[in-house]
């Protein structure tokens, strides 16, 4: 909200305090100053009022004149060359004499203009920075005496602070409210406007009440309504000082009645409204809820359709104001209005807020109602409204003030000790200073009682406009605010040792990031919210529907993400399209996946590896493949305590969605807490995305509460020091057989054959072959078996016996053949 410094001066004496000091005060009182705007004439030295004595055509220039100007008894008569055309001999205009510095750092010097000497400049309004008008000289029609310093003649400049009022301080949405704060800060007195009108002052004659009735049918939303008739007003411009103040804070002057309404609102924070009495059908005012579908054309010339429950001010036929928000276009005051109804009312914030939100219609008035106006200052604002109307629009109050609704009682007290305040602050503010600070905000001490060991206990009465003050802690803030939060003393951190462990999720993310960064991946951060179109490639339509927000803001951020891969592909594409080399990207973050019919928030990590790196190298390195993706995924899983390579792994089932069928696999199942997918991204999908080259990716997700810190300390297992005996065995199996299945069968048979004689230490696949020398549809898997005894070197013979036994047993119990 904009606050005019000149306006503030009506309530608090700020003379002699620099603008910057005021701005700082407002800031440290808790209102952020967003902008400081300076208006009006700046301080101008050596610029005076002068009267044009003669005006002659310049001998060498058609458009110039040579003038003599009387600049008063002290400065005397000056000869000045001037290019303006809008003045005549006898006019009084601003004269900048030699030595004057005009805005824009324009220094006036003795000069020759086309050969004619000129000792000054006759000025336009623009040259004095008081208006945009540059068409001619500023003619001083009031004819101030020649030689008067120009600042004595021009409207004083103003400084306007655009400040942010926090929602807890509706009282500060007014000049009196801000003045009160500044008075407290600068330790000055606050003077309220003198209001002379009282209901008792209404004269008996003429006491004609034009209003037939004022009725409130919706008291729950309008607890107090007042309406006063003023007859015989003359609508015209409002006084200059009022126009200046309103203009300074950004309101366009309209006419005296409208301007006075705005002025009272910005002075007290209480919105008011003036009707043209003769536009009220039936001479009635009814405060009621709108009927569903009722229509009103508001002041901004838009037709609004109301719904039931919206509060309106109506006449006998139709709504004329949307209560607290905006009046209708045709009930307003116009130039021929002579009789007014002045409304000052209290509408509930919830009601105004709901209606304003529903209609998408807000105003200075609704803003104040929504935040809460002080019903206890309502009468004072109403009387001020009447005062100003009578003073500046004439007329007289006709009839009593219609006042519908009960007085709302206000009494609030807070008891606090200075010791309590100092304890909360952690430093000492003397008791007397605390009390002065609170009293300067018009909190009065109504009782003072001694306590046993905590000094006096003060009971403060809280003014009605400070509904935000309710508890002793609230007064701590008031005290420290006025003490100056800049002065809070420095200190060192004192805190008892309290060291827990970081959340396992944090530890997981750190480990994943460190490992993948070590593998050359760049960490990315993508938005959690994704477009439905993007997710269609990664989840079934039903799953996508479950991820939708109720109220997305933009179409491309409408759904929660079930995967991190789609975001990484987007990042990859961005880099490719910008011609930036990027091949390995990863992200850690939350995803949302269906589990047992509900969504689960999961901790996840994913990476992509693009074949097309976007850069050429003098030596080519082998590019990533499925098994690289599998390894990285397994690494990620290991940080969540999952041994992925020991888990059942299968090709992704149809529909493979974003993954390439036959070239991507899954391990884990979210039903058991975690899931993973890794391998080749669907080539068709990559093509649709416009990504060049193959992309391998991996994705690991674990339900957030299943991420646990690995607390078990491992125990040492002895390992054999004797030499190992190695045997290789190649098995011919159908090509669709999973190697893990063959390995499992072989390991089982080998274990049984070895028995307790010695140990089977490892069974590793070391070759996969398909082709010449093998039957159609078969493949050979070669395994290396490692045997070792803990206490002796194994002899060939004893190993051969076991090896033969293994082969015999395999042929007997499995369909596999042994490749010789």
């Amino acid at each position: 909200m904009k606050i005019s410094c000149n306006w503030l001066q009506s309530y608090v004496d700020l003379a002699g305090i620099a603008d910057d000091e005021i701005s700082r005060a407002i800031t440290f009182l808790g209102f952020e100053v967003e902008q400081v705007i300076r208006t009006g004439a700046p301080k101008l030295d050596n610029v005076f009022v002068g009267e044009v004595l003669t005006r002659d055509k310049h001998p060498n220039a058609d458009k110039l004149s040579v003038c003599t100007v009387d600049v008063g008894p002290v400065q005397g008569v000056k000869r000045i060359v001037c290019g303006a055309q809008n003045y005549t001999v006898g006019d009084r205009v601003p004269i900048a004499l030699v030595g004057a510095v005009l805005p824009g750092n324009f220094v006036i010097k003795e000069a020759k203009v086309r050969g004619e000497a000129s000792s000054g400049m006759m000025c336009s309004a623009k040259e004095l920075a008081i208006a945009e008008d540059a068409t001619g000289l500023l003619i001083l029609t009031a004819r101030p005496a020649a030689g008067t310093p120009i600042n004595d003649v021009l409207p004083a400049g103003d400084v306007v602070f655009d400040i942010e009022i926090t929602p807890n301080r509706p009282d500060a949405l007014s000049h009196i409210g801000v003045a009160r704060e500044l008075a407290a800060w600068f330790k000055k007195d606050l003077s309220y406007p003198s209001v002379s009108f009282t209901p008792a002052a209404i004269v008996a004659n003429p006491r004609i009440d034009l209003l037939k009735s004022v009725r409130v049918d919706a008291a729950s939303d309008c607890p107090l309504y007042t309406a006063t008739v003023v007859t015989g007003v003359k609508v015209g411009p409002s006084p200059d000082w009022m126009q200046q103040r309103l203009s300074a804070v950004g309101l366009r002057p309209i006419n005296n009645v409208v301007d006075i309404g705005n002025y009272v609102m910005l002075e007290y924070g209480q919105p008011v409204h003036a009707f043209d009495f003769w536009k009220l059908a039936g001479a009635e005012i009814i405060v009621r809820h709108a009927a569903e579908g009722e229509k009103i054309v508001t002041l901004d010339n838009k037709e609004r359709t109301l719904s039931a429950g919206m509060l309106v001010i109506a006449d006998a036929q139709k709504p004329v104001v949307i209560a607290g928000i905006m009046g209708s276009a045709d009930s307003g005051v116009s130039s021929d209005t002579i009789d007014l109804v002045l409304e000052v009312a209290y509408f509930k914030r919830q009601s105004v807020r709901a209606t304003s939100k529903r209609l998408g219609l807000a105003s200075d008035s609704s803003y104040r109602y929504e935040r809460g106006v002080d019903v206890h200052s309502l009468d004072e604002a109403a009387h001020r409204f009447i005062d100003l109307i009578l003073a500046h629009a004439g007329g007289q109050v006709a009839g009593p003030i219609h006042r519908v609704g009960a007085d709302i009682p206000w009494q609030r007290e807070i008891t606090v000790t200075p010791a309590y305040i100092n304890e909360k602050l952690g430093f000492e503010i003397p008791a007397a200073d605390q009390r002065t600070a609170l009293e300067s905000l018009e909190l009065g001490v109504v009782r003072e009682e001694p306590t046993e060991n905590r000094g006096p206990a003060w009971t403060f009465s809280i003014p009605s406009w400070r509904d935000d003050l309710d508890r002793p802690i609230d007064l701590v803030e008031e005290v420290v605010r006025l003490y100056g939060t800049e002065k809070i003393p420095a200190s060192v951190i004192t805190a008892p040792g309290l060291v827990g462990n970081d959340d396992p999720i944090v530890i997981f993310n750190r480990a994943v990031s460190a490992a993948l960064v070590g593998q050359g991946f760049n960490e990315c951060v993508n938005y959690t919210l994704r477009p439905a179109k993007e997710l269609a490639a990664w989840a079934t339509p039903a799953a996508v529907a479950d991820l939708a927000l109720a109220n997305p803001f933009v179409e491309d951020q409408s759904h929660l993400r079930p995967t991190l891969v789609s975001g990484l592909l987007e990042s990859l594409k961005l880099n490719q399209s910008r011609g930036v080399a990027a091949s390995r990207l990863f992200e850690t973050g939350r995803v949302f996946i269906e589990r047992n019919g509900q969504l689960s928030e999961c901790v996840a990590a994913a990476f992509v590896m693009a074949e097309e790196t976007g850069e050429r190298n003098w030596r080519t390195r082998e590019s990533a493949d499925f098994y690289a993706a599998k390894r990285h995924t397994a690494t990620i899983g290991s940080f969540a305590g999952i041994e992925l390579e020991r888990q059942p792994t299968a090709l992704v089932a149809a529909p493979a969605l974003g993954w390439q069928e036959g070239h991507a696999a899954t391990a884990g199942n979210l039903q058991h807490g975690w899931t993973s997918t890794f391998g080749l991204v669907s080539l068709a999908h990559l093509k649709a995305l416009g990504i060049a080259g193959k992309v391998y990716a991996g994705f690991f997700a674990i339900v957030s509460e299943k991420v646990t810190a690995d607390a078990d300390r491992r125990s040492y297992k002895p390992f054999g020091l004797q030499p190992a005996a190695l045997r290789d065995l190649a098995l011919i199996v159908p090509e669709a057989t999973a190697s893990s299945e063959v390995q499992k069968a072989l390991t089982k048979v080998a274990r049984a054959a070895v028995g307790n004689a010695f140990a089977l230490e490892a069974v590793n696949v070391f070759d996969v072959y398909q082709g010449k020398g093998l039957p159609e549809g078969a493949k050979s898997l070669a395994f290396s078996l490692v045997f070792r005894s803990s206490d002796r070197t194994l002899t060939d013979d004893e190993v051969n016996v076991i090896f033969t036994k293994i082969q015999d047993e395999l042929l007997k119990t499995t369909p596999y053949q042994i490749r010789k």
């Binding site: 440290f28 304890e423 420095a490 200190s491 827990g500 960490e523 951060v525 919210l529 927000l549 109720a550």
Partner: protein
């Protein structure tokens, strides 16, 4: 005998230096010292040497053996050296760049978050996590945000549909709506509900507001928040924490100041400004960096802490804003575009 030995050595001296292949060497070696070798044959004749000549002849044979061995050793060493040399290509050009990929990079937001948590760790704050999908209770009610507060509007907060069900985001009351948390303060509530004070936590994470994305706003952003609950925690302690954090981050001539402000869940509340000498692209004496305050007694009451006994402070700020200040980044969207030229600048 002596002549024979001399002839044999002369032949070996001529033959071995010419051998290049290991197999030729082995064959040659066999011809001299193998079971049927020439030297072996001569040594076999030792039996027929008269007894009195044996010491002399034996000495000759041994000398010949030593000389022959030196031929063998020299040849073998040469052949092996040649074999090793054959494994090498020409000398490398050490000025060519390594074709291997460089280390990856941590995202700048991660770097700043980790730096903050390290700084806070030193004074006893541990990192906690909480769900991004929250309920109205944890995000608003428990933080003293009234039911009709504008922040709760569907205009400002993302909601999930009524039918949405989350298996692992607990609700306080059955009729609450799910939403995307608008701040990470919800984690403070979940932490306080889990156990009694004292508590000293830092909660970094994503937050969401229905906001137009531009150079300084993002609907999806990250916050970092601290909460400390103990006995006799004061405003001065809060100021000490802020001073400590920013001096640690930006150097010892960094200053912070408080301005009174309003937050529903702290009283008194402050905005925090900082002033530092070495920030890039900053031309204001004070920069607003976050909000803080003393935990409002209402919040304590709601989580079952006795506000007469416990007191505490909370501080929060936007991670992007901090990273932008620290690195001199002028557009928040860069954090979410992942242009590798951007990502590589901070590691």
């Amino acid at each position: 005998m002596q002549d024979q030995l001399s002839a044999l050595l002369a032949k070996a001296a001529a033959e071995f230096p010419a051998i290049a292949a290991r197999s030729d060497f082995e064959a040659a070696k066999a011809r001299y010292v193998g079971p049927h070798g020439e030297l072996t044959a001569l040594m076999k004749q030792m039996g027929s040497v008269p007894k009195e000549q044996k010491p002399v002849v034996g000495k000759l044979v041994n000398e010949a053996k030593t000389v022959l061995q030196s031929h063998l050793d020299a040849a073998l060493a040469r052949i092996e050296a040649a074999a090793l040399a054959a494994q090498l290509g020409p000398a490398v050009d050490p000025t060519l760049p390594s074709p291997d990929r460089t280390l990856g990079t941590h995202h700048p937001l991660t770097l700043v978050r980790e730096e903050m948590t390290r700084i806070l760790r030193k004074v006893g704050f541990t990192v906690v996590e909480g769900p991004e999908v929250e309920t109205e209770y944890y995000c608003f009610d428990a933080l003293n945000t009234p039911a009709d507060h504008p922040a709760r509007d569907a205009q400002d907060t993302f909601y999930l549909p009524e039918f949405a069900r989350f298996g692992n985001v607990s609700k306080k009351t059955p009729n609450e709506k799910y939403l995307l948390r608008t701040h990470t303060s919800s984690v403070q509530i979940r932490t306080m509900l889990k156990g009694p004070p004292p508590i000293r936590i830092v909660s970094p994470g994503r937050a969401f507001r229905r906001d137009t994305t531009d150079a300084t706003h993002s609907a999806n952003f990250q916050q970092i928040e601290c909460l400390y609950v103990d006995k006799n925690v004061t405003v001065r302690d809060l100021k000490a924490l802020l001073d400590y954090i920013f001096v640690s981050l930006l150097g010892k001539d960094t200053k912070t100041r408080f301005r009174p402000h309003y937050f529903g869940y702290t009283e008194p509340s402050f905005e925090v400004d900082l002033s530092a000498t070495h920030l890039p692209k900053v031309n204001k004496p004070w920069i607003e960096i976050g909000g803080c305050g003393m935990v409002d007694p209402i919040v304590f009451k709601d989580v079952g802490y006795d506000p007469e006994v416990w007191s505490g402070y909370a501080f929060g700020m936007g991670l992007e804003r901090l990273a932008m200040l620290l690195y001199g980044i002028d557009d928040i969207r860069y954090f979410y575009q992942n242009d590798v030229r951007f990502l590589r600048q901070f590691a």
